[in-house]
């Protein structure tokens, strides 16, 4: 039990003392998570909207592929990105391996299918009659799309939260393409792996608590945002 008490104490101490090394790790964690979530929204949300709101040839295949991609283990994504960015790989000339950019690329490949898949499901659940009604009242295609997105916003927010959650807690891919370099590519999850491997279980657990606090804060923000919107709607 002592190790758990120790972990809480260490987590509090780390946060209060705020060593520059720790802030560096947290900054890189945020950078990778935010860049890859935003990129995941930019790439995944339109794709999800198309899959959920329109009918086209090959749509089912695309949905099945997206759902499969959601389940690919991060470490496999990491392996593929690593091989592509390796000096012997096709994009090796860019010299991106073991950089924050490489981590953001790998994490974007993880967040995109998650956001696409969940946005698609959220959009598909908007009643078709509503869209028909909007069109019959003279709404343009764009206005109709905005209406659908507005109706599906809870699901869309959940999709964004899931995407962020997946990239902030991921370890397999960022370890492989980032390399856990101190002061450069070390993030909370890779630091946790390292501290546990070194036998510093208290420190590892403390970093885990910090990671949970970050995820909690992010989800708390999204929930608050949802609620405040609903209250506004109800008047």
């Amino acid at each position: 039990m002592n190790v758990f008490v120790e972990a809480v104490v260490t987590a509090a101490r780390l946060t209060l003392e705020g060593s520059p090394a720790l802030w560096g790790v947290i900054a890189v964690t945020f950078e990778v998570a935010i860049v890859s979530t935003v990129a995941g929204i930019v790439l995944g949300a339109p794709m999800g909207f198309l899959m959920g709101a329109s009918r086209f040839r090959g749509r089912r295949v695309l949905v099945a592929l997206t759902n499969t991609a959601m389940g690919i283990p991060p470490v496999v994504i990491g392996l593929i990105v690593m091989m592509v960015l390796s000096r012997k790989g096709p994009l090796g000339f860019m010299g991106l391996l073991y950089s924050v950019d490489a981590m953001s690329i790998a994490q974007t490949l993880i967040s995109t299918p998650i956001i696409a898949g969940l946005v698609s499901a959220a959009v598909a659940s908007v009643p078709g009659k509503l869209r028909l009604q909007a069109r019959s009242l003279g709404a343009s295609r764009v206005q109709e799309a905005l209406l659908v997105l507005k109706e599906a916003r809870l699901g869309v927010l959940a999709a964004i939260a899931s995407g962020f959650g997946a990239v902030v807690r991921g370890v397999g891919a960022v370890m492989m393409v980032g390399g856990n370099i101190e002061g450069k590519t070390r993030v909370l999850t890779t630091a946790i792996v390292q501290e546990s491997r070194m036998g510093n279980f208290g420190m590892a657990l403390a970093l885990g608590l910090l990671l949970m606090a970050i995820t909690f804060a992010m989800n708390g923000f999204l929930t608050w945002y949802q609620h405040s919107n609903e209250r506004y709607e109800r008047g």
Binding site: N2, L14, L97
Partner: protein
């Protein structure tokens, strides 16, 4: 690694002491319950030699990566059919921590000073030399620091630092990392800067990253030999006596399977175990990976 190493060391001491106290209480509580069971076992074992018990060895990733266990364990199990070995391969720091928590029965690690402390603090029953291998400094063929064919490890590290050539450090408190830090200290350099990457990973990952980054690193010869075909690296320094790496075996005090731990420790320093070590790797690499040196 987060710049809080020293204060946390003190805390770890306190934590270890607290743990020890808790364990003592635990032992006192269940000691009486366990003891009557013990006398039965020696009588049973010869009667039913097919019944096996598990022996957990905590060892290091570099030992596992060398492939030694793949021949060592079958040989031990052939000689001792009553035991079945499971290996947990982690960093030396974690291996010792696993030992302190009694989650392993026996340790096979390579950080002599730490091992002796481990035994002195009562976590291990005793420590015996088993074998040694050596570290090599590897780097890119282009050799930007100009240290090829050297045999002075400290001088080589100084040249790397002076040239600000990329150096990848294990940075994981492992035996190899500790050996590296000792060498930097001997060279009178405190390595830091953009050229020095501390990655907190195992030997295999470190070699891969070194090759990709066209940098230098220190590797144990076993892992180096087993991975060199896939790497764009060559040995630049070898043979310096400071690069020798001694392995020890330690049965964990009050381990779950004390007989098994003792049997393994006795076997690996016996002529049979030492012979397996002496011949391992010769057929594949043309040279042995480890030199047995049990007393």
């Amino acid at each position: 690694m987060l710049g809080v190493k020293d204060p946390s060391l003190l805390r770890q001491r306190t934590l270890a002491l607290l743990l020890a106290v808790v364990m003592l209480f635990g032992l006192a509580a269940c000691g009486s319950a366990e003891e009557p069971v013990e006398p039965d076992q020696p009588a049973e074992t010869p009667a039913e030699p097919v019944e096996t018990t598990e022996v957990i060895i905590a060892s290091t990733t570099s030992t596992e990566d060398s492939g030694l266990f793949e021949v060592l364990i079958p040989a031990f199990e052939a000689d001792n059919p009553e035991y079945k070995i499971s290996v947990v391969a982690v960093g030396t720091g974690q291996a010792l921590e696993i030992g302190r928590n009694k989650d392993a029965d026996v340790l096979l690690v390579h950080a002599k000073a730490d091992e002796e402390t481990f035994v002195a603090e009562g976590y291990g029953t005793d420590r015996q030399d088993v074998m040694y291998n050596d570290f090599v400094i590897v780097g890119p063929e282009s050799d930007p620091a100009g240290i090829k064919d050297g045999d002075d490890a400290a001088a080589a590290l100084k040249a790397i630092a002076d040239a600000k050539a990329k150096f990848i450090s294990r940075g994981d408190d492992s035996g190899t990392h500790k050996a590296e830090l000792k060498l930097w200290a001997a060279a009178g350099i405190e390595p830091s800067g953009d050229w020095y990457d501390s990655i907190g990973q195992g030997m295999g990952d470190t070699l891969t990253m070194t090759s990709e980054s066209e940098g230098y690193t220190i590797a144990d010869r076993g892992t180096w030999l087993s991975m060199r075909d896939g790497l764009d690296l060559v040995i630049v320094v070898e043979g310096d006596p400071v690069l020798f790496n001694q392995y020890g075996v330690i049965p964990v005090t009050d381990a779950n399977n004390q007989e098994g731990a003792r049997a393994f420790a006795d076997w690996i320093v016996s002529p049979a175990g030492q012979e397996v070590i002496r011949t391992y790797g010769v057929d594949v690499y043309g040279e042995p990976l480890f030199v047995p040196n049990a007393q």
